[in-house]
Symmetry: C2
């Protein structure tokens, strides 16, 4: 199988991307890794030698993190992200992974790779952290700001298939993000979506609340992109702030510094549990090919993990299964 | 001034409500406290003597926490919550405070007290905790699930007046809850609301993100009831879970138990900072009278604080000011 890496996208690009690719190429010799980007930036990082299953695909332009997504994708046709997307579209790669501009990657999914037949709106599906480390696959978390009930139904079906094919889950529980667990709760969107989800061929467990996500109240969390983004950032913000204040408290005086030393392993464990960058990349589900969004701050380990994730999805036929479900590729 | 207390609503009712009322009556002899509820439940709690500025107003029914709100308010006309609402409506009380069923209290606001002229949808406006302990007044957090852009504009105006009149703030900064800070971000609702907020006679600071609320990125946070509820519960859930896991880590072995003892004051401070029950009651803004929702778990101190808040709002003419702003009472 062939996996295209946008070598230029991400806070630590191209170093983290190249290092992660090299580690993956070594571990999985059957996988061809295509590093897409500027050769003059990538080649120096291959000074130790380039494994035979790593190739450089030249792409001279770069989509910046503050570029306006759709315009950037339309104009920068020789950017690493667009070139990687085109390789997926044309069957030259089985998957692409990018840690660059999220909006631009969604535009690449829509405009370059194209929608899967039968899907109205693709959804971005990261795994949110949970206490038991298994995580909740949540979608959509930002691709589709004004979702319709039918979109949420498609997210539930796609999320279920992803959990089954990539995470090996049987009958993943699907929850609808809402303001209360009773069936009648919510806004017009969630009330209508509830009616569609209940008879659907999924394991629907009803409405779930934002406060219980960390306890893994479901395996697939369905929501519109606006609410999902608020959820994610509120959890991230609360966790970040608490750890920041704890750090201040721990460095307040000699007593608390002793306490900090005693507690360090435990604190690290708690911090790690809350870190949503730990759970690999977020697939853009609903496009006609495998597109994975890595976290902007991805290091080499995260890049390698995203490649592992792509390998599993390809090996287990995720995209053909999705195409089957929604009416043929 | 006269303040009606729903003595039967809340997890610790009527004890916490009566104790809080007694403490308030003692501190503010100019204020008449009207304890609304079942005399046989309230009187035994006044065994130590009833101050002359405390009165019992009999109401024999009770709205339970799991009652369907609108039906309960319509059918239980002799419930403590409905009777307190009627007193506000008929000018027998200048404010009412209830820690009971939130949905029912919003129904009391709409159906018993009535909307303020010119207001389309009332909004529930709790203060969210911030690191600097000043808090962010957020509305709407659950009264109006399908807000229109005009509702968000009214929330911005009402929230600004509340901050000025009750919290003594000058030019409170109004932020629009969104998925990014750029003007073009968001869903149809926030994009249209942005256009209305920008020219409005408020100190609009633009879009704000969920992750920065704890850093007090604005003083009045405007959002629809659905997104606001997700925000609140995600923050609450993340904080609750982190403290739960920290507690487990702190009790893991003798070393961590020593650390816990050394850190206790600091941990309590952090926990308290994140506790959104610390910031008094949430006004239901947009009804034709002062209606304050206390947290369900309110203790006597919280009840007394809500009474303090009501006193300030009454003393500074909040409701007449709102009536003026939106077209006369």
């Amino acid at each position: 199988m062939r996996i295209a890496i946008d070598a230029m996208g991400g806070d630590h690009a191209p170093q983290a991307q190249v290092e992660g690719a090299l580690a993956a190429a070594k571990e999985w010799p059957d996988t061809e890794i295509l590093l897409v980007g500027r050769p003059d930036a990538i080649e120096p990082l291959l000074a130790q030698g380039k494994p035979s299953n790593v190739k450089i695909v030249p792409a001279l332009e770069l989509i910046e993190s503050d570029d306006e997504p759709v315009r950037a994708v339309r104009r920068k046709s020789d950017s690493s992200m667009v070139v990687a997307g085109r390789m997926v579209k044309e069957g030259e790669a089985d998957a692409m992974i990018s840690s660059g501009n999220t909006g631009a990657l969604m535009a690449v999914g829509l405009l370059v790779v194209g929608r899967l037949k039968g899907i109205e709106r693709p959804g971005l599906a990261p795994v949110l952290p949970t206490l038991d480390d298994i995580g909740v696959l949540a979608l959509d978390l930002g691709a589709n700001m004004d979702a319709k009930p039918e979109h949420l139904l498609q997210y539930a079906l796609m999320g279920t298939l992803y959990r089954e094919k990539v995470h090996g889950m049987k009958k993943p529980r699907v929850g609808l993000l809402n303001v209360g667990t009773e069936a009648a709760k919510g806004n017009e969107l969630t009330k209508a979506a509830f009616e569609l989800l209940e008879p659907a061929p999924i394991h629907f467990v009803g409405n779930v609340e934002a406060r219980d996500v960390l306890e893994r109240n479901c395996d697939v969390l369905v929501c519109d992109g606006f609410a999902g983004n608020i959820l994610l950032k509120a959890m991230e913000g609360a966790a970040g702030t608490i750890f920041k204040v704890l750090k201040e408290e721990f460095t307040a005086n000699w007593k608390t510094k002793i306490a900090a030393a005693l507690m360090m392993p435990g604190l690290r464990r708690v911090r790690k549990k809350m870190d949503y960058t730990e759970h690999g990349g977020a697939p853009l589900l609903g496009v006609n090919g495998l597109v994975i969004k890595g976290h902007g701050s991805s290091d080499a380990v995260a890049v390698k993990n995203a490649i592992r994730q792509a390998r599993i999805a390809i090996g287990n036929g995720l995209i053909p299964a999705l195409a089957d479900e929604f009416g043929g590729k």
